[in-house]
């Protein structure tokens, strides 16, 4: 037993030295008595180490860094807004409504069908924000995000047909955010149900594992209003998201076939993002229906 423990230590020391740049031979020289047993293990470890030096794709790193920085900025802006909380959200909505009223009903209606390369597109996005702000329930907002995802897919298809990869990328990012919001809002419902059903915890869960399970961001929960028919709303949301989960990637793949070469990489990323986003959203909705956390 002691011998085995000693060998474990020797092996580990040699591994550290190998990882630090020394050669296998240098390690073996330090432990000639164990050399026969050590050598094949060190060669295997070195092979495993070399096979593990995988580099993430450059384009993935760029995309991931962009998303991380966006999340960081969003967190910062939420922090700034937290002082005002609800009032701020409503104040923003009222301001936007006033601007939209000034623009006139016709402008708003026309903006509803505008595309990302058109002048009225910002009005369309502002109108969507107002609708989201004025939707009190989490499930209602989740449904709205699903319908907005549908609009984004139409826009991606349109921009792809016009051969504009930047705008395809930009709208795909929005689509990704919408789908992430659906998952977050479903999770918020789950948390709410847990809080309502569960007795107060007697003992805090030990270890960092418990801390890793981050609660849903406070602003989303704080805005939540009681659901009149939560089970019915959840079922509607699931049906809607399931339909789009099948339909949207299919539509984008169909667009890919006839799209100009210049937009194909951006389109493929959009397809992957939509598939992954819908999978996450559906998983979150299903977990909510079964009232279980993602790690249950």
């Amino acid at each position: 037993m002691k011998t085995s423990k000693r060998f474990d230590n020797i092996l580990n020391e040699c591994l550290e030295r190998l990882l630090g740049g020394e050669t296998i031979e240098q390690c073996l020289q330090s432990y000639p008595e164990q050399a026969v047993e050590l050598e094949p293990l060190l060669r295997t470890a070195l092979a495993a180490k070399q096979a593990s030096t995988i580099q993430p794709r450059a384009e993935f790193k760029v995309r991931a860094r962009y998303q991380f920085q966006s999340a960081l900025q969003e967190m910062e802006s939420k922090r700034g807004r937290r002082f005002f909380g609800w009032q701020s959200a409503w104040a923003t909505a009222v301001t936007v409504i006033l601007i939209l009223l000034l623009l006139g009903g016709g402008t708003v209606a026309a903006a509803g069908n505008s595309m990302p390369d058109e002048a009225l597109y910002p009005v369309k996005l502002a109108t969507e924000q107002v609708r989201l702000t004025l939707t009190p329930s989490a499930l209602g907002r989740a449904q709205l995000y699903a319908r907005l995802a549908d609009k984004r897919v139409v826009e991606i298809a349109y921009m792809a047909s016009k051969g504009d990869p930047q705008r395809v990328e930009m709208v795909a990012q929005r689509l990704d955010t919408h789908l992430a919001r659906i998952a977050t809002l479903a999770a918020a419902q789950r948390e709410k149900a847990r809080v309502m059903l569960a007795p107060p915890p007697a003992v805090e869960r030990a270890g960092e594992d418990a801390k890793v399970l981050a609660p849903t961001p406070a602003p989303e929960r704080a805005r939540e209003a009681p659901e009149s028919l939560p089970a019915d709303s959840r079922a509607k949301l699931r049906v809607l998201v399931m339909d789009y989960a099948k339909n949207h990637p299919e539509r984008l793949r169909a667009v890919l076939k006839s799209a100009p070469e210049s937009v194909k990489p951006a389109l493929r990323r959009a397809i992957r993002a939509s598939e992954a986003g819908y999978e996450r959203a559906l998983k979150s909705i299903e977990d909510t229906e079964n009232n279980r956390s993602p790690r249950d």
Binding site: S4, K5, F7, D8, N9, L11, N12, L15, E16, L19, P40, L41, T44, A45, A47, A48, K49, Q50, A51, S52, T53, I54, Q55, P56, R57, A58, E59, F60, K61, A64, R65, Q67, F68, Q69, A71, L72, Q73, M75, E76, R79, G207, E208, D209, K211, V212, L213, A214, P215, P217, K264, P265, R268, R269, R272, A276, K283, P294, R295
Partner: protein
């Protein structure tokens, strides 16, 4: 990297620069660890992003109890992997060799070789126990020390060393069988 404890404290105070430093220092390692654990690059990409977004959300609850940022991040990644494997067990997935080639890869030959390496190590590691696979991924892909691995896995350093030994022995056995 600067003193890890002060970096974490700055990150907890929502210092974007500190967050970015953590991200840049661990992104590749976390990606490698997840890829080796699950053997699927596309899923690994998605999960790597999720690890950092989750870290961003949960950093206020981080408590400095001798757990380094790397151990903390890898524990989040570990939880993601466990969750993924649990879900995967319930559904059919696309094996790595059936995946479409990555888009806009500058060096297709290098990518193909890399894919082969991932496939080989992922296939070989499937013959190991979960704990052995974990220790190999954390040590070689995540580049964690034994002390850090022991924090992530919640085992003593002696136990990690023993596990590392048995994992390499098992890996050697599997690789020597599969080699032509």
């Amino acid at each position: 990297m600067q003193d890890e404890e002060s970096l974490m404290r700055r990150a907890q105070r929502r210092d974007p620069e500190a967050f970015t430093q953590l991200y840049e220092a661990y992104f590749d390692k976390i990606y490698r660890y997840i890829t080796i654990r699950i053997g699927n690059e596309m899923e690994a990409e998605d999960m790597t992003q999720q690890v950092f977004l989750k870290a961003l959300r949960s950093i206020p609850s981080f408590r400095w109890r001798g757990i380094s940022p790397s151990a903390w991040l890898f524990r989040i990644a570990h939880n993601q992997v466990v969750d993924y494997l649990r879900r995967k067990a319930k559904r059919v997935t696309v094996p790595i060799d059936k995946l479409p080639p990555s888009v806009s890869d500058d060096n297709p030959q290098l990518m193909a070789e890399q894919r082969q390496d991932i496939e080989q190590i992922a296939l070989a590691s499937q013959q190991l126990t979960q704990a052995q696979r974990e220790v190999i991924s954390l040590r070689f892909a995540g580049e964690l020390s034994v002390a850090e691995v022991s924090k992530v896995m919640g085992r003593s350093q002696g136990a990690v060393k023993a596990l590392q030994h048995s994992a390499i022995v098992a890996l050697r056995r599997v690789l020597s069988v599969t080699e032509p």
